[in-house]
């Protein structure tokens, strides 16, 4: 443990804690664009510069670990003016087309300028423009490089977390542009994690384009039901229409990531074709019915003997839903015949689970990554459970070499 002073306040943190984390822990906000806990630190945006007593230059708190006895100041006038000056530099070449930018209202650059300044512009020169028009990188991703703040999070999350590695930085200096191979359509799964981590309106979702403003959206925290990974996400609607779903940094096992289905595939929820009422088969034909009618039909047909009824639950249900499902069967129907298709693997899987003493209960995917070897049997995890695949991939790239069996 290391004891340091931050703005005069003494705190004790673990060895090798970054100054930025220590300061946040002590209750001081430090702005940053390029820092993200699960990415390798690059210390490039310079928003997080702080004063360390005894050092002449301001230091980047996102890549500098605390040392015993350090005295750090994060709110002096020098630090504050450094923050404002970095923002001024970023704005110098920024498009400043906020009124037509999809990020308006939830833009980190906007928020930081509002908070730290500068509140007056001095850059009166012509700006460098990457492109006149936004360009699509896929059917769901659209790009405006004139708004980029060069935090590289898009490139880094694609390489370090997703493992697709299809984004790169072309050019250098103020002509540096994070984009695809020759700015062509991306050869990837279109998961859009680059959009999720973009702090500004540079990587944007095409289906969301010009639909609404973020302050008009109502969100709900939920769990994605596309696969068994169980990613946490927020779905947002306006006037009863689902507009978008997004991940939340640090929430759920998926943290900032979602897969293509989780991010772009939820619009079916508010489609007209979706079933909104129960259907009851009458004279061989399914017809809409009220819940009351439907329940009456069920009550009529459920045998009183629990042995004669069984329930099959989808493997995509959440633990809470599965709990309610078994409760319904056990207490109302008096039946213990409950199963889920996730258990219908091959005999080999069952035998392996037994041999590895895993039949007593599962372990988390993160615990699996602590082992020397990961065997994946009976699943094409990158297609079926992409976010699980990211987690496995991060372990693989780490580089504790694991094997994936088909």
């Amino acid at each position: 443990m290391v004891t340091v002073k931050i703005n005069g306040k003494e705190i004790t943190v673990e060895d090798n804690t970054l100054i930025l984390d220590a300061a946040r822990h002590a209750g001081y906000e430090i702005p940053t664009f390029c820092y993200q806990a699960d990415l390798v630190g690059i210390g490039s945006c310079r928003m997080c510069l702080v004063e360390i007593e005894g050092q002449k230059k301001l230091q980047p708190s996102c890549v500098t670990p605390v040392l015993h006895g350090m005295s750090i100041n994060t709110e002096t006038s020098t630090v504050m003016s450094a923050r404002a000056s970095m923002l001024e530099f970023l704005l110098a070449n920024h498009a400043l087309d906020c009124p037509v930018c999809d990020k308006g209202g939830e833009c980190e650059l906007q928020d930081m300028v509002y908070k730290y300044g500068p509140h007056k512009g001095r850059h009166a020169e012509p700006k460098f423009k990457f492109q006149e028009k936004d360009y699509a990188l896929s059917p769901v991703i659209i790009k405006n490089s004139n708004r980029c703040v060069q935090c590289m999070k898009c490139v880094r999350v694609c390489r370090e977390v997703v493992g697709a590695n299809v984004l790169g930085a072309l050019g250098r200096g103020d002509h540096q542009e994070e984009t695809s191979f020759f700015r062509h359509f991306l050869d990837c799964d279109q998961d859009g994690n680059c959009i999720e981590v973009c702090p500004v309106g540079c990587f944007m979702r095409l289906p969301y384009r010009y639909k609404t403003r973020p302050w008009d959206l109502k969100g709900a925290d939920t769990v994605c039901q596309w696969c068994g990974t169980g990613c946490r996400m927020v779905i947002e609607e306006r006037d009863g229409i689902l507009i978008r779903s997004k991940a939340q940094m640090g929430v759920g096992l998926n943290s900032e990531t979602l897969c293509a289905r989780g991010r772009f595939g939820n619009d079916f929820m508010t489609r007209a074709e979706r079933l909104k009422t129960p259907l009851v088969r009458r004279f061989g034909k399914l017809e809409p019915a009220s819940w009351q009618e439907a329940l009456a039909v069920i009550k009529e047909n459920v045998p009183s003997d629990g042995e004669r009824i069984g329930g099959i639950a989808s493997p995509r249900l959440t633990n809470e839903e599965l709990y309610l499902f078994q409760k319904l069967f056990r207490t109302i129907f008096g039946s213990a015949n409950i199963d889920s298709s996730s258990r219908w693997g091959s005999d080999a899987v069952e035998a392996f689970a037994k041999a590895a003493s895993m039949d007593a209960g599962g372990v988390s995917v993160f615990d699996c990554m602590e082992t020397d070897t990961v065997l994946i049997i009976g699943s094409h995890v990158s297609d079926e459970n992409p976010v699980t695949d990211y987690i496995i991939g991060q372990g693989r790239r780490a580089p504790r070499i694991d094997h994936t069996l088909p």
Partner: protein
């Protein structure tokens, strides 16, 4: 003074191995191979040799940070990415005497325990790369490179890695990224290259001129070297003189030679009868000196005391016809062109400076522009990821400090004061 580094310059076919050997070359490596590696490190430390690439860090000390464990792969990288405007000394060595560099690399590799050396040469130096390649081939053919050189237990391979147009590769960690096939953006330090450098292995990165000093230190001893020039930055130094002098060129002189001595005694004085106006003493990052400061000694500490620096030893001389606004603009344009794009203040700050300077130079200056430039300098300096942005600021500050009235004149009269 007897030349040490450029001793073979001007001799016929000085680039050939046989001529290098005839002039006493490849003796130092043979003596070195009979010494213990840590003794060589100590000798270089004792010599007081400081890196000739610009930073002036003690070469022996740099070597001593390399872990001693013989089971760890170590690398030597020769920084031949000579790109600081005004500088052409390393090119002079590589074009004319490539074997002195190879011998320096051999001794250094032996001292630090490296079995592989890379020469990072800038892409534009095609001639120099060919000369080096031929020299390396000659050395292999003679058994001076490869397995068990000179019959010792020491083996060394040297390869050429050619840059392709990026000044930032002269920054040592950017150079490593470039060899590894990545975009050459500087790495964060720590870890320092001595512990985790090329391919994550302990690595020493030395400038061409630095390495070319090594054979003489082995042959003539550290004391001989340390007695040349000022106590704290001793040894021979190549000055690359360009601009308005009669005889521009490479001059190998003791450290501590004054600017006046260099220009008027060695370079034959000013090009025309126009008087001297300013001198950039160490490559364009170094703040310029004025005519009043010609007695400044050219060495690391004397120039630092004057608020400038020795840098690469590139001396650019300007007479009264030179416009300081134009000079500031050209130099700043260079830095913004070469900014790698990694950090905010350099990436977005240096082009901003260039835009303002361009306006002033082209008669579109506005009141307040000088103050704006100064304020931007404050906001860049000391806040960038690597020294490139600082270099841009130091150069501009040097111009503003000494020639502020020229900038003001440009803004007020929309024309140049000098012409």
């Amino acid at each position: 003074m007897e030349k040490v580094i450029l001793k073979n310059l001007g001799k016929p076919d000085s680039h050939k191995l046989e001529n290098y050997v005839a002039s006493g070359g490849y003796k130092a490596i043979q003596s070195a191979l009979k010494m213990r590696p840590d003794n060589i490190v100590q000798m270089v430390k004792d010599s007081g040799l400081r890196g000739r690439g610009g930073a002036g860090f003690s070469t022996g000390l740099k070597w001593s940070f390399i872990p001693k464990d013989p089971t760890i792969q170590k690398y030597l990288c020769c920084n031949a990415d000579e790109g600081e405007p005004g500088t052409y000394k390393d090119r002079g060595i590589m074009d004319n005497d490539p074997h002195i560099l190879l011998e320096g690399m051999m001794i250094t590799s032996y001292a630090i325990g490296a079995s592989v050396g890379y020469i990072y040469i800038r892409g534009e130096f095609v001639f120099g790369a060919k000369r080096l390649e031929a020299a390396i081939d000659e050395a292999y053919a003679k058994g001076y490179l490869g397995k068990n050189i000179f019959g010792s237990n020491f083996s060394l391979d040297i390869y050429i890695h050619r840059g392709y147009g990026a000044y930032i590769c002269g920054e040592e960690t950017a150079l490593l990224e470039s060899i590894e096939g990545l975009r050459a953006q500087p790495r964060k330090k720590p870890p320092f290259p001595a512990l985790a450098g090329l391919y994550g292995k302990p690595t020493v990165i030395n400038n061409v001129e630095t390495l070319a000093c090594i054979p003489a230190i082995i042959e003539k001893g550290p004391e001989w070297f340390s007695k040349m020039g000022p106590e704290k930055s001793p040894g021979p130094k190549i000055f690359c003189v360009s601009g308005h002098v009669k005889k521009p060129g490479l001059y190998e002189l003791p450290m501590g030679t004054t600017v006046r001595d260099l220009i008027y005694n060695h370079c034959g004085g000013m090009l025309t009868d126009k008087p001297l106006k300013a001198v950039i003493p160490g490559g364009v990052s170094a703040p310029l000196l004025t005519a009043r400061e010609l007695d400044t000694a050219l060495d690391f500490d004397s120039l630092a005391a004057k608020g400038s620096m020795l840098g690469s030893g590139a001396v650019v001389v300007m007479d009264e016809s030179a416009c300081m606004v134009k000079s500031a603009y050209i130099i700043n344009r260079f830095f913004s062109h070469e900014s790698c794009g990694k950090c905010t203040p350099c990436r977005d700050g240096t082009p901003w400076l260039t835009r303002v300077l361009k306006r002033i130079e082209h008669g579109e200056g506005r009141p307040g522009d000088i103050e704006l430039l100064e304020s931007l300098c404050t906001n860049i300096f000391g806040r960038t990821f690597c020294p490139l942005g600082d270099g841009a600021v130091m150069a501009l500050r040097g111009h503003l400090k000494n020639f502020r009235e020229e900038f003001q004149f440009h803004i007020d009269h929309k024309r140049c004061m000098a012409s």
